[in-house]
């Protein structure tokens, strides 16, 4: 009987410990969100629209917001076509040598230290060009975006029942037709999800921008071959300043960044059961 009791006792301890650990695991997220709102909202409320459109000396982060969107857009422009093709290849030739390599490589790139991408791009783009630029930043971000979209593309297409493929082959369609007319449209939703996840990732990245974009906060960007700003990079600079005014600004900017992230994340999450980032 007492043996049963100790067993039961162990079970209770186990359940309690598990509940506590689970709770501790999700606690930080709530604390982060609450803190970002409580610290950031007053700053934005106080400065109002200027915070979102003004330049740094006017107390706003407008150019940084513009820069982040431009970088998102440009990096998608560079990264998406490559990513889609790579994803399709990985789906279509999963067992060939290159196909296997590609799949492993994509997984590795997903996990890859992003600072290394930044340094690499500085080396091959920013220094030869002789200037920091939006293009260099977008290129670095594209390298980071690419594996996400490729993996999602491949996964989304793999989810389509094999019978569709068989049926299409039965109709005598060529591979390219099957992919472009049947499989891609069918897996549209999964691919779009991948695209949005890639963009969410790209919007929040800091390390790849450290040595590539330079920063531009006093005026709006005019050219992709010139330096450009980004919200995460601006936050990184502001945090390292001693002045409380800069810290307030950093919290405000963090709130904006968080909202951009949620704006992308929520629809994605609503459309899919599980998202792997």
């Amino acid at each position: 009987m007492s043996r049963y009791k100790t067993r039961k006792g162990k079970e209770v301890v186990f359940l309690v410990a598990m509940a506590i650990l689970t709770f501790v695991g999700i606690l930080p997220l709530f604390h982060i969100i609450v803190t970002v709102f409580t610290e950031g909202l007053p700053v934005i409320a106080e400065r109002g629209f200027t915070f979102l459109t003004g330049t740094l000396s006017n107390g706003g982060i407008g150019p940084a917001i513009a820069g982040t969107f431009i970088l998102m857009f440009l990096s998608s422009l560079i990264g998406l076509p490559v990513a889609l093709l790579v994803g399709i290849y990985a789906y279509e030739y999963p067992n060939s040598l290159i196909g296997r390599w590609t799949k492993t490589l994509l997984q590795i790139m997903l996990e890859f230290p992003t600072i290394l991408v930044g340094v690499f791009v500085m080396n091959i783009v920013a220094i030869p060009m002789g200037t920091y630029s939006g293009f260099a930043g977008a290129f670095a971000l594209a390298v980071i975006l690419m594996p996400y979209v490729a993996v999602y593309t491949q996964e989304a297409m793999r989810q389509i029942p094999f019978t569709y493929r068989e049926a299409s082959f039965g109709l005598g369609l060529s591979r390219i037709k099957i992919i472009s007319r049947i499989l891609v449209p069918l897996s549209k939703r999964g691919i779009l999800t991948g695209v949005l996840i890639g963009m969410a990732k790209v919007a929040g990245e800091t390390a790849p921008l450290l040595f590539t974009v330079g920063g531009l906060y006093q005026s709006y960007p005019t050219s992709i071959t010139k330096p450009i700003g980004a919200i995460p990079l601006l936050i990184y600079t502001l945090i390292q300043s001693p002045s409380n005014a800069d810290h307030a600004m950093a919290w405000g900017a963090s709130l904006v960044l968080l909202l951009i992230f949620l704006l992308i994340f929520i629809p994605v999450r609503a459309s899919l059961k599980e998202v792997r980032l």
Partner: protein
């Protein structure tokens, strides 16, 4: 269900496009303005930012981006053409100068402002602290471990020093402030010169004792100081004023304990006739010239901070508009900018003959 989700994603994409497009169009239609970029030393940060603010108000068509990163980064970014105006506290060394010349353009270097490196501390309840030369060196060497060390107490009998370890904060990046400070320490102490030496980054002995901490840029250092009781750091005077930190009085050449204020810094500048080489041979300048200057009322750690700019031979580095804007801004800095109302707290204007050397150099920039 699927349709609903599909439309959600579509809405999201449409939403993003809607947000982006006015921004993009806004960029295209924005009126023609020239953007200049200045990068490097954080020593003159508050001064530069003040100049930029004032200048942008009277010249709305010119935007100036301030970027920190330290003197080392300033020299590097300037060399790579990643910034238009580099900032460095210590003059460029000959090696780097040759690299600059190898680009085929002529670099120009001249002082922009005078500032002081101060020793700030965070000891609650203590406002005044005197540090003799020896103590100063020993603290940064790590020889003195606790605040209530005998030698410090003897010098500061009225201060109630805690039995707490001294945490020494230094820079993590390649820094002109560090160069000035370590050059000064090498100047007053052979021990320091032999063991540690001078440079934009040095191997801090305190790091290996676990009592060293590092911050990026003067802002980073001051941030850590504010958060850390029992710490000490070196930084530029303006940061101390801006953040209301406590400053130590440092023993000067004549054995007097002096706090850095405008008069004591000015005294250093007036005590020595500064030698500024031709801006085309900037590397010949000596950092030491304003350090440890004589005079009873002279603060010992004073230095010029410098600007780097290209002569722009054959338009190698700047477009004509940029060259014009750079010339305008730098001329303004060296004339209007040196007036009392445009000097930020903690800095001292250049002697007029030094400013003139800079002006002559600026006039040779080709547009």
């Amino acid at each position: 269900m699927e349709k609903k989700q599909n439309s959600l994603i579509k809405t999201a994409i449409v939403g993003i496009v809607i947000v982006i497009s006015p921004l993009l169009s806004g960029c295209i239609t924005s009126n023609e303005s020239v953007t200049l970029r200045t990068t490097g030393a954080t020593f003159p940060q508050y001064q530069i930012q003040k100049w930029i603010d004032i200048y942008q108000q009277s010249h709305p068509d010119i935007k100036i981006e301030y970027e920190g990163g330290g003197s080392g980064h300033g020299q590097e970014a300037f060399l790579q053409g990643l910034t238009q105006v580099g900032r460095t506290d210590p003059p460029v060394k000959e090696d780097t100068w040759n690299k600059l010349l190898n680009t085929g353009d002529q670099p120009l270097q001249f002082p922009e402002i005078v500032g002081a490196v101060v020793v700030a501390f965070n000891l609650p309840g203590i406002n005044e602290l005197k540090l003799s030369r020896e103590i100063l060196v020993d603290i940064f060497m790590g020889y003195i471990e606790y605040w209530d060390n005998e030698s410090i107490e003897q010098l500061n009998p009225e201060a109630n020093l805690p039995h707490e370890k001294i945490k020494v904060i230094h820079r993590s990046d390649s820094s002109g402030t560090t160069a000035i400070f370590t050059t000064y320490l090498s100047l007053i102490s052979e021990k320091w010169a032999n063991r540690v030496g001078a440079g934009k980054t040095v191997d801090w002995p305190v790091d290996k004792m676990g009592r060293g901490l590092a911050g990026k840029g003067n802002p980073g250092v001051v941030t850590i100081l504010k958060q850390t009781e029992g710490s000490i750091c070196y930084t530029e005077l303006s940061f101390v004023i801006e953040e209301n930190l406590k400053i130590a009085s440092i023993e000067n050449k004549n054995g007097k304990f002096i706090k850095p204020v405008t008069e004591t810094i000015q005294s250093a500048v007036s005590q020595v006739s500064s030698f500024i080489p031709d801006p085309t041979e900037g590397y010949k300048e000596d950092v030491k010239q304003l350090l440890d200057a004589p005079g009873d009322n002279t603060y010992p750690i004073v230095a010029f901070s410098h600007l780097l700019v290209w002569q722009n031979k054959d338009g190698k580095h700047y477009s004509p508009e940029e060259a014009k804007a750079i010339k305008g801004f730098l001329t303004w800095i060296l004339t209007e900018g040196q007036k009392k109302e445009n000097i930020a707290p903690g800095y001292v204007a250049l002697p007029s003959e030094v400013a003139q050397i800079g002006l002559n150099a600026v006039n040779t920039i080709q547009s």
